[in-house]
Point group: C2
Chain length 304, copies 2
């Protein structure tokens, strides 16, 4: 991945997208940020292209115009709850838009190297007969069609499955939700009480900036048509998360932690494939939480 290489980032306005634009443009990469609506674009110092990725013609025109050497495909819908209500929208946003992108590469620019960002929430067809929700189905099909397109049309496609990404920026994850309420409490505003129903539930949290570096590693060294799990390889319980936040704020953290009924075992995401490519996460869990708090504190300060 040479300096001045053209990298197209879809979903550039999202949580990961903004970090990715920032990281790659600092590396001297020629970043083209794809957003749906230019007026809402929150990205600075990179070129911005508007495109509705659920429109096949628009996607084809975008690829024909930009002809990027790399694509980081982050765009999509990732709301599990919403997927129950509007499953077609989820399928179009996650499956068809990926297909439009890959098929535009097939016809317009087949030499491009693509990282498709899937999800750890996809279900394993080989083990489970049914998906737990439409979102899971959509991400499984996204992987499936990406692998198939790579094989059928000899395209250079790598699939990344990130776990829970955390870090500064607007996110709907649990770390972000708690931090927002902590900052409200610190500013003596009424906080929305959060309840952790089971503190023993374990998650693998990875800083989004480490994930972006993992995507860079995949562009450099990733193997065509392989699936890579992107995670810290470490397990934290939600109870630990709340305690850690408590140690980072002078105020009482507005989270009710229920008593646990179960002792859920820590999870171990196997990240050996990423490590074999030379990638290791560099940001500790504590640093991520500190930076999330700082992000929301600064946001609150700006309001004054």
């Amino acid at each position: 991945m040479k300096s001045k290489s053209k990298l197209l980032i879809t979903g550039a306005n999202g949580f990961t997208g903004q970090h990715a634009c920032n990281h790659f443009s600092k590396q001297g990469i020629d970043v083209i940020a794809v957003v749906r609506n230019k007026n809402n674009a929150k990205i600075n110092n990179v070129k911005v292209e508007c495109c509705d990725l659920t429109n096949q013609t628009s996607v084809k025109e975008l690829i024909y115009k930009v002809k990027p050497e790399y694509i980081l495909h982050l765009a999509g819908q990732n709301h599990v709850k919403e997927s129950w209500v509007n499953p077609i929208m989820i399928m179009e946003a996650n499956v068809m838009s990926s297909l439009y992108l890959l098929d535009a590469l097939r016809t317009e620019h087949p030499s491009c190297k693509v990282v498709i960002v899937g999800s750890a929430l996809q279900y394993d067809i080989l083990q489970d007969k049914y998906p737990p929700h439409p979102y899971s189905l959509s991400k499984t099909l996204q992987s499936l069609v990406s692998e198939s397109w790579s094989k059928l049309y000899n395209l250079d496609i790598i699939i990344a499955h990130p776990n829970n990404l955390i870090g500064p920026g607007h996110s709907k994850g649990v770390c972000s939700l708690i931090a927002q309420e902590i900052v409200k409490t610190e500013n003596e505003m009424p906080a929305k009480p959060i309840t952790i129903s089971d503190p023993c539930i374990h998650r693998d949290f990875l800083d989004v900036r480490d994930a972006v570096k993992a995507y860079e590693t995949l562009f450099k060294y990733g193997n065509n048509n392989e699936i890579y799990k992107i995670a810290s390889g470490k397990s934290h319980s939600l109870g630990q998360l709340v305690s850690k936040y408590q140690s980072l704020s002078p105020k009482e953290v507005p989270v009710t932690v229920n008593k646990s009924n179960t002792k859920e075992a820590p999870i171990r995401v196997d990240v050996s494939k990423m490590k074999a490519l030379g990638w290791v996460p560099g940001i500790s869990f504590e640093t991520s939480l500190k930076d999330i708090l700082t992000f929301y504190r600064q946001l609150e300060d700006q309001k004054d």
Copy 2:
């Protein structure tokens, strides 16, 4: 499946669709035939509705308007060769249109019983890592989303996987292609020479009229979210097919049969699940071939 029940048949203009409209309307079923373009409709004595099934809004309006008790979903694209060139069209026609239909049932009419007609050409995700062609991928995804929608939203969906369907009517199958050339020869017109590269290749041929009866059996007795193979359970080599045709025509059949290099074993499609529901094929291979010849002979006579 009572008399006067409302049955919506998609792909009604197709090879199987025409037979299905004919069969079910004769049973006293209130058939509503869905076609893309009314001007091209080849179906008589049934109600016809126009709908572009790749348009979600149109599909929703159709289901809201008709509220059928049964749907036989035959519509789709089934050209393997074309699927390489226009794979997105195949995915939209086979995957998204099925999803639009099932999702319209979810929101407008969830009590409907649906038979989704898949294909024996779908690949087995559990065994094969990649599909052999985009058509195969599209039919695998069609099954997958149908099973998922049935489970996620508690809809009454049955999946049928027919093998090679043959019989009178316009079809692009090998039995139909050979018959057309035989009839040309019989009428002393120049026939296009057909070459059978390997006479030992085996196929399971089933008469389309038996397949339609199988779909009726599924409406009556089929189990929700089950996949049923629809086939004769008998194997015929392409060499046998040519010999059989030769015995049915006074003229030399214009087919060149290469010498076989391999001895392909007969195939055995397991149709025990269909037989357990009381269905058995009733039309012999020879009768099917005779009826195909009769169809093309009558077509030729009508030209005079």
